[in-house]
């Protein structure tokens, strides 16, 4: 759980949240292409990609490893029930943006 979320849950002020976020997460409020693409993954894999069993966690992975497995899902070299249908919809550049964003989660 991020520092930001702990602070939000304990009800501290927005000012404190901002100050504490400096030492906790650099992602609070971050919005870019990787964040928006990853948000599509997070629907099933949980916010920040932390997993929703049996959906596995997808955060913190090595960038090259994630791009490799997604491309293998797309080619069906890696067997899946669902992931090939999603993986085929993204370019290499988009997969890299997702992997780079979720690596920091």
């Amino acid at each position: 759980m991020s520092v930001k979320r702990v602070v939000m849950m304990t009800g501290l002020s927005a000012g404190l949240v901002g100050a504490l976020a400096l030492s906790g997460t650099a992602h609070a409020g971050e919005l870019n292409r990787g964040a928006l693409l990853s948000a599509q993954c997070e629907t099933c894999h949980g916010t920040d990609g932390t997993g929703a069993a049996p959906m596995p966690s997808i955060n913190g992975m090595d960038v090259a490893d994630m791009v490799d497995v997604m491309k293998a899902f797309a080619s069906k070299e890696e067997k899946s029930t669902m992931m090939y249908r999603h993986a085929q919809g993204y370019s290499d550049e988009e997969l890299k943006a997702v992997a780079e964003y979720l690596k920091g989660k």
Binding site: E30, R33, L36, Q40, E42, T43, C44, T47, M55, T81
Partner: protein, 434 residues
């Protein structure tokens, strides 16, 4: 709470948030990556579109003042409500609170919106409150379009629709429990387009699962007004595999091409009648009325001639009202079906558009996805999924498809789909409400 109190409190919140931004900037975080969006956003409707949008607005624009207005104190999901109807889950298990969103700093108001002034970006609440916003997000779902089928406005108790999850779900469950073995269940889907295109057919599946175990002489007839339906090959192959499909079998599908659309229902005789006179008698009848965008957006003047809302499909801003956004079932979203997952996906693009606009940044390129599992039994699932992109102003499918219709050859596949359906539910509800 009156509106003056609310404004003062919100203003203080905004001051606090502004202070936080200054601190961050002064300490040298990469400001280009920080959305310094300020302003007030009011989101109407706390379902798959609205709850997700409120959450991601706050996530990407921590300085935004976000208010979510929802009529119900707790939200009962339509997804997985067919499991409640089949007796496989309790209504409590698909009921969610807004505490998680409150903890994220979202001002959640349990109230009913009675009017929308789109030009002024202002909503009126029952009891006289009014909320003004810099951006207004409407995710109010569907309303029933009565008058398309004779008597369709008189049967909510005798032929429960169960198309808004909650008391209707429980009522349909009770009627199925009370039905004798050997009874006939009629499911009457609405004409397309409607919320959750595979929903009536998943419902037939899970009711069949209940009947097979408890009342095996009973039958289900789907009296359809449509000539085809969602995931048709996969559903029919799975029905034939698990329950029997066809006249006299546990599940019979009567296409809209057979006798035309349904034109009349009669609660006194418990019959459903098609255009060319074919009549079907049921012991339990699930009549799902025709649908259009919520009456709220219709009365606000935001709907087109077909009863749905035209939006910019990249931002979800209404085509007829600036800074008013319409999400989910009420809007026209290109190739995306009217599903909870679609609404969740649209909400994230809408949140990104609003945060970027208010921060004076450019909106990231939109990206959309849909995943829709249907359970044929609690241990046997099928699905449809797609990824979409914005092309020439319209949402177009770029990948995806339906589960291959070959049950019996690789049942492990279908078992895994059922397991992942549960994961999907856990994931999306935590994404919305967590």
């Amino acid at each position: 709470m009156n509106i003056h109190d609310m404004n003062r409190r919100d203003f203080i919140k905004l001051l606090g948030a502004t202070g936080a931004v200054s601190t961050l900037t002064a300490c040298g975080l990469p400001t280009a990556a920080m959305a310094k969006a300020g302003g007030r956003v009011v989101v109407v409707g706390g379902g798959f579109g609205g709850a997700t949008c409120a959450s991601y607005l706050k996530r990407w624009g921590p300085d935004l003042n976000v208010t979510l207005v929802e009529k119900e104190a707790k939200y009962v999901t339509c997804p997985f409500s067919n499991k409640v109807i089949a007796g496989d889950m309790s209504i409590a298990e698909i009921t969610h609170s807004y505490d998680g969103l409150k903890a994220r700093g979202i001002n959640v108001i349990n109230g009913e919106v009675t009017g929308v002034d789109a030009a002024a970006k202002k909503v009126s609440l029952k009891g006289g409150q009014a909320l003004s916003a810099d951006a207004l997000v409407l995710s109010p779902g569907i309303s029933f379009e009565y008058g398309r089928v004779e008597n369709d406005d008189k049967v909510a108790e005798s032929m429960p629709h169960a198309w808004h999850a909650g008391p209707q779900t429980v009522l349909l469950r009770k009627q199925l429990e009370a039905m004798a073995d050997g009874g006939v269940v009629l499911i009457v889907p609405p004409r397309k387009p409607f919320r959750c295109p595979p929903g009536p057919y998943e419902r037939a599946s899970l009711i069949a699962h209940y009947l097979k175990a408890n009342k095996p002489k009973s039958r289900i007839v789907i009296v359809d007004s449509n000539p085809s339906h969602s995931k048709q090959k996969a559903f029919h192959a799975a029905w034939a595999h698990l329950y029997g499909l066809g006249e006299g079998k546990m599940i019979q599908w009567v296409s809209g091409d057979q006798g035309g659309p349904v034109v009349k229902i009669d609660p006194s005789t418990m019959t459903v009648e098609k255009e060319f006179g074919d009549k079907f008698k049921g012991d339990v009848i699930n009549f799902i009325p025709h649908q259009k965008a919520s009456a709220l957006v219709m009365s606000a003047g935001l709907t087109n001639k077909d009863g749905w809302c035209d939006v910019d499909q990249g931002t979800f801003e209404s085509k007829v009202a600036k800074s008013v956004y319409v999400l989910g079932d009420s809007c026209v979203a290109g190739a995306m079906p009217k599903s909870g997952h679609s609404a969740n996906s649209q909400a994230k693009n809408c949140a990104a558009a609003i945060v970027a606009k208010m921060a004076g940044q450019s909106q990231p390129t939109p990206s959309y996805a849909n995943t829709c599992y249907s359970l044929i039994s609690p241990d046997f699932g099928i699905s449809v999924a797609a990824v979409y992109q914005l092309k020439e102003g319209a949402i177009k499918k770029v990948s995806g498809g339906v589960t291959p219709p070959h049950p019996g050859e690789n049942d492990r596949f279908y078992k895994n789909e059922a397991k992942y359906a549960k994961g999907w539910y856990k994931g999306i509800t935590s994404d919305m409400f967590g």
